[in-house]
């Protein structure tokens, strides 16, 4: 693995360097994490303290925010977590699969109008989403996708059709970093474009796939506007939509419980990230390039 491969000379001075590096990292980390620590502290403050106490630590420790937040609505927060997890995981699968095949075509295959389609693909990244919401809603309504038994259809179907150009472009860039000699060799062995995809590109695209999985998951976990528009039943709500329900700014607000649930909702994405980033480490270097 990586630790074993760097030149031996660089490892010998490793200890002193490691201490310096860790010190630098800890310093940056302290600054970077302070706002989050403040957020955790505030999640334990009572309603009157939140607006008046600007320090990190709660004066009056209020763990009740967590239980109150969890059971604040008719539907408990566990349901919102499950809904969000389901939408996020299906989005991960859809994006990873559909963007990978599209990226393979753009990165490796020669076909008529390739340049044109690539430009169109980049173009779809550029139009601000807010002018597309209503046309898309009207379109999906005609497809009969809106307000059905299973309201997540309009959120998920696009993800299985590679509509997130970001990931297509991401994977194209990664695939173009893979030496073409590998496919050429496979071609000589008689592999078809499908064979090359299956046996060369797929295994070597792991860093790109992992990155896609991480981003798909996190962004879906936090995405608000589309989920707001397409979900209408409290028991179908996802975390971002449910989170806004805590704050009715001109009427009643439950800021403490909102903070508590914000902190809790960070946990699954954090764990997802820590688990998946391992796969980044085991990326290309172990997948056979060096033989």
């Amino acid at each position: 693995m990586v630790a074993s491969t760097p030149a031996a000379s660089r490892r010998r001075s490793g200890l002193g360097r490691g201490v310096v590096r860790t010190a630098i990292l800890l310093l940056i980390l302290a600054v970077v994490l302070y706002p989050l620590i403040w957020m955790v502290g505030t999640s334990f403050k009572g309603q009157t303290e939140i607006v008046s106490n600007t320090g990190v630590l709660p004066g009056d420790f209020t763990p009740g925010n967590y239980t109150d937040g969890w059971n604040h609505f008719d539907v408990s927060f566990s349901r919102f977590f499950l809904n969000s997890a389901m939408v996020a995981l299906l989005t991960v699968i859809g994006n990873a699969a559909s963007c990978l095949v599209a990226a393979y075509a753009f990165a490796r295959l020669r076909f008529p109008l390739r340049g044109f389609w690539f430009a169109v693909m980049i173009g779809t990244l550029l139009l601000p989403q807010h002018v597309l919401t209503i046309p898309q809603y009207i379109l999906f309504k005609q497809f009969g996708w809106v307000g059905g038994e299973w309201p997540y259809i309009p959120l998920l179907v696009p993800q299985f059709l590679a509509t997130e150009a970001f990931f297509v472009f991401l994977m194209v860039q990664f695939m173009r970093g893979i030496p073409r000699e590998l496919d050429e060799a496979a071609k000589i062995d008689g592999a078809s474009p499908f064979g090359i995809f299956r046996y060369v590109m797929l295994p070597l695209s792991r860093p790109a796939l992992v990155t896609t999985a991480i981003f798909s998951f996190i962004w879906t976990w936090n995405e608000f506007f589309r989920q707001l528009v397409y979900l209408s039943d409290l028991s179908d709500y996802t975390i971002p939509v449910a989170m806004t329900l805590f704050i009715d700014s001109t009427g009643q607000s439950a800021i403490g419980p909102m903070f508590a649930m914000s902190v809790l909702s960070l946990l699954p994405v954090f764990l997802f990230f820590v688990a998946f980033q391992r796969l980044l480490v085991e990326g290309i270097n172990t997948s056979g390039l060096k033989g």
Partner: protein
């Protein structure tokens, strides 16, 4: 993992120079590859035709109308270029938002990329606990744009905020950063840079893709760490740097959520954080001038399209692709 094929003798044999591989390239039917291309492209094409293109074209059509959201779409009246004319001649808020957005992107995007690359290099080597560190650095980017984040940020950067408390240690008197029209955009930039996790992960993944034997070869040739970075890491990372540059530029210009959340959806104080897309949102969704908002969106697409095209055309001079394909 399909290690078997990748490990097969032919693959290893082909690890020669690109030139010799190219000479042996078989001239097999381009039609077959063309067909395969479209087969692999088909999910994306269906998505484009069925899901992406129609709303895009509809919004293009609406940009020439006075569509107001609340009246039926069919009643929107054709107004020709009026929306486009208004943008350039009689809407001062339009140019304010252009100025805000350009200054935001020019400063925040390079700094965010630098922070992401710097931390990614520090976190690239495998050591005990590196995964946790990566996660912790990614944490700020996990929050997204929530109301909680807005409250946190205001409490970091208002008059009594933590940042001023920090400055006071050095006897510096701070400013009400987030509430001051001269500084609010800067706090927004700090927020954007703080959430550098996404490009950091992409850099990390890119670093993993650099074949380690290149470092070994460079080391044998007597290259020091800096030389290795310049002659191996940077060129091998260039496709990923290119990707991050293009995407973060697009994101920077599109920056909506942070501005929306921090300014309570107003772009204030006094329009100082009125990003282009926030202005567009307010026009379309608060004032129900969706026709005008659509026109703003298409001018945006055109402008960012040109910037992106410039990136792509300069890319051929500095982006190194291992596939030896110059596009």
């Amino acid at each position: 993992m399909a290690l078997t094929t990748a490990n097969s003798p032919s693959v290893r044999a082909s690890q020669g120079t690109g030139a010799s591989a190219k000479r042996r390239r078989p001239r097999r039917g381009p039609q077959r590859e063309g067909l395969a291309g479209y087969i692999f492209l088909s999910p994306w094409l269906i998505g484009l035709m069925g899901i992406t293109a129609i709303p895009m074209l509809l919004s293009l059509y609406l940009s020439f109308t006075n569509y107001d959201v609340l009246s039926p779409l069919g009643e929107a009246e054709w107004v020709g270029l009026a929306n486009y004319k208004r943008m350039f001649t009689s809407d001062p808020s339009y140019w304010r938002s252009v100025t805000v957005t350009v200054s935001f992107a020019l400063i925040a995007v390079p700094l965010k990329l630098a922070a992401a690359l710097g931390v990614a290099l520090l976190l690239n080597k495998a050591w005990r606990g590196v995964g946790l560190f990566r996660g912790l650095f990614y944490l700020p980017s996990l929050i997204g744009g929530s109301v909680a984040l807005a409250i946190v940020w205001v409490n970091m950067f208002n008059r009594e905020g933590a940042f001023n408390g920090f400055l006071a240690i050095f006897g510096i008197e701070g400013k009400p950063w987030v509430n001051d029209p001269s500084w609010a955009l800067e706090t927004l930039m700090v927020l954007a840079i703080w959430q550098f996790g996404a490009p950091m992960v992409i850099f990390l993944a890119g670093l993993k893709q650099v074949p380690t034997e290149l470092y070994e070869a460079a080391s044998v040739d007597g290259a020091g760490r800096f030389r290795q970075f310049m002659s191996v890491t940077l060129p091998m990372l260039s496709p990923v740097i290119f990707f991050n540059l293009v995407l973060e530029t697009i994101n920077g210009f599109q920056g909506f959520t942070a501005a929306f959340v921090l300014s309570d959806g107003t772009g204030g104080p006094v329009d100082s954080t009125l990003m282009y897309t926030l202005n567009l949102y307010l026009k379309g969704w608060r004032e129900y001038e969706m026709g005008y908002a659509s026109a703003m969106a298409w001018v945006f697409l055109l402008a960012i399209g040109i910037i992106t095209a410039v990136f792509f055309s300069t890319g051929r001079f500095w982006v190194h692709y291992s596939d030896g394909d110059d596009r």
